[in-house]
Symmetry: D2
Subunit: 270 residues, 4 copies
């Protein structure tokens, strides 16, 4: 890293980032929920399922950045209202993606944490805007971004006065086609070594394959991740996006049991 | 490409895109100028130099997306006013990058064409916003983007009613470190085969090396590019950004002579 | 995978591969030792150190594929004799790389396992040759190779009659420059899901950074690797190759303690 | 490049490499022919067709490195005899790939030039072996290789006493899936700037698409390539490998007309 005076760098004292009842940087935080908020029924079912299985936070997209302009783009305000209702029912804090500088302030009223997605990692206007408000920010690594660029994007947010940034490794784009992206787990570890910010892992988008989500989650825990973000849908076959990589609730129950078992084993190691 | 009904696809009748006196899709258009507008003196000197050497259009950034928040971010409104003055003096039409949805409408009043940079290629809110105004748009390919994704981003603009999009290949990120990026010239050709939109090439950002700019420009012309965008600075050693890859005026004169020679030779081929 | 009749595919019954006293596919196998055999003193010191720390197998290169023809290329036959002596002293079985079809048969007499390096993964003549002899083979993934290509290279060996192949993920080449390569841990998991062959991980070459070797080793164990291959050198500062990423013996002792602790914790999970 | 004493570096005086009647480094050399020698009829038809269309050299594989061990691996010695017969009939010099150190000396008796394929670029034993014999060598760039590594592989050959090396850019592996590989034309230019060796381009393997071969060939000529290598098959639909990207003879006639027209135009430029 070139600029040693970056506020993002240095790992002597780890930062705790609080989003509602979830605290990143202390014990493992599990964020779960559907890729996008599609309906009240779908979202509340998902929220109850992930809460019962032991998740710490609810995710759900109201604004979806999609490759094609003709694909489902999210429910917008309606989606945010549904997400808030799901949060009230379950008590889970919420995180949602924001994609436009003009939406930051009002979207922030509906959720506990704002997400900057991979495609917008270097949307510097948006970074500055989330740096000027008070909600904590989940900053995903761009699929083409070096660790240095990623940390500099966090710096954009910190430089505007918001110290509550959580980094999220979600896979980079490589030549390998078996997985949707290539999970760069060493980047999570490196970011935690270089910075005091919490760093979590999104194995769903990184792998794009149900069979790889649990093994990669266990790997992330063993190498020190501060959290995991996974997609859960009450009925993956009917999902409007990412259905093929979303866990159904019954699978998520087993998943949570296994990752918590490793978490506890890790916490007992000398 | 998946969606054959995309307005962007089909290459039977090529689209002409007019930006002031420059017409993309007909004869080769050369865009030249400094990476960023740094001062009135620097910009006007650059404008006069590129005009005299035969360029068709002036480029210059007023909003610079930089890796670090502490790097020079551009002069903003002041830069746009300088750019307009340089245009008035030389008669060259202008193009500048816009990076925030809130800036689109007022920036459009100062220039002839709006540029969407590589880092914002999938900033869908911004694409929709430039799709709703009347200036033509120069859409750079993201350094991590497939041809399919790039064409879909053009579709975002066209779908909002603005048909005047020019695509720009500017290099993709690969493992090779000798060049700044890897110029994917076959993507320029492929985009022209798949779409009716003009496609130009930016050899400056793609290669990051002065010695490669002219050979890659000649290559682009021979394979059918609709234009070239290059950086020229009156004093590269003093440039606030990209100095090492900007051509000084005397080099640009020789460059223009050589690329026009090939252009004319190509136009004479049976 | 296209060809479901490949002998390499199918994971119903996992294959055990025996190399001297080491058995891959059962409990975690740790391979350790210097990048290259440089002298008798260096190799025997390394062998004793890794044996005492609990390693299962000794590695050491006698033929080094180097970028430049003028870099140290290994001691050849003399190196193999040293490796055999180190094996006799410590009781550790050995693995070494072979890079020429003409060397396969005689090199096989000095070691317990033959390694095909990343640069030779698609050296099909060499694959066929190691497929025609009886030593087990450690097949590293090419730094540019898809999982499908990797498994097909194993198939070349199996198709000649040698069923004893262990796969090794060692990082792929991507745009990220902070790490030497990008460890694709999901490829290890995917290869184990697709194939019955043991799959191990080489975190030394994958990351090229001492600080990442232990975290990535823990990650590999948590996600099910059959083994680890790491570089240990009695005096990394004096190493003729890869010194900056080799663990000194005292670090390796702590490393072994930590990875065995996780291994045992994993074995106790329900 | 690190080692300025490399014999490969320096471009003051360009090297001429003679392979039969073909001379690389002077005027454009066009190598054409089938991916693999499949039969006497197919190869001789192809040879006559490319000769009549104006090609300078005949290519054809007798040993094919294939992803799967069960794919067609080439005719071996029989293929070489056919290739020699085709050469005698047409007068075209020939180039064929060699993949095993043990084959170098006898294969060299059947052809005018030996090719090292992309997968074997860092098969250093093979490089040393072709460096010890007298035929000129066509050294393809590995699909994962930096320019620096490529030039170092040429150095392996030169260091053994064979100065007659021609480099061939054939596309690198990136995330882009529209093309088979990504043609890195700037690498051809850079290699010519760094080295005195001739550098040619293989647009067939680089793009994998018939529609891109001619535009990329024109681009290569305009940027200074010393030659082109393309696949031509008398009946692409029946080809045992690479049929979808091989030109049929009638297309090759038009191709040759167009590239020669540009070549002559380039030679007339001041």
């Amino acid at each position: 890293m070139k600029n040693l005076k970056m506020a993002t760098l240095g790992n002597k004292k780890r930062t705790l980032v609080q989003a509602g009842t979830a605290v990143f940087g202390d014990r493992l935080v599990v964020i779960a929920g559907p890729c996008s908020v599609e309906s009240e029924k779908q979202t509340i079912e998902a929220a109850i399922a992930v809460k019962e299985a032991g998740a710490d936070m609810l995710r759900g997209g109201a604004f979806k950045p999609r490759t094609s302009p003709y694909a489902f783009q999210g429910l917008g305000l309606e989606g945010l209202k549904i997400l808030r209702k799901a949060s009230e029912i379950t008590g889970l804090p919420t995180v949602t993606e924001v994609i436009d500088t003009r939406d930051v302030s009002w979207v922030a009223e509906y959720v506990d944490m704002l997400q900057i997605g991979a495609r917008n990692m270097q949307n510097f206007s948006l970074l500055l805007e989330v740096g000027r408000q008070e909600r904590p920010v989940l900053l995903k690594r761009g699929m083409y971004s070096t660790i240095e660029e990623w940390l500099n994007c966090a710096e954009y947010i910190l430089s505007e006065g918001n110290p509550n940034v959580v980094l999220c490794e979600r896979g980079i784009r490589t030549f390998e086609r078996y997985t949707r992206n290539t999970l760069d787990l060493s980047a999570m570890v490196a970011a935690r070594q270089l910075s005091h910010l919490p760093v979590i892992v999104d194995p769903t988008h990184a792998t794009g394959r149900l069979s790889l989500i649990e093994p990669m989650s266990l790997a992330a825990i063993a190498s020190g991740t501060d959290g995991l973000a996974v997609e859960v849908h009450p009925c993956p076959d009917e999902a409007l996006c990412d259905g093929e990589q979303s866990m159904p609730p019954e699978l998520f129950v087993r998943y949570m049991k296994n990752i918590r078992a490793l978490q506890h084993a890790m916490e007992s190691l000398p």
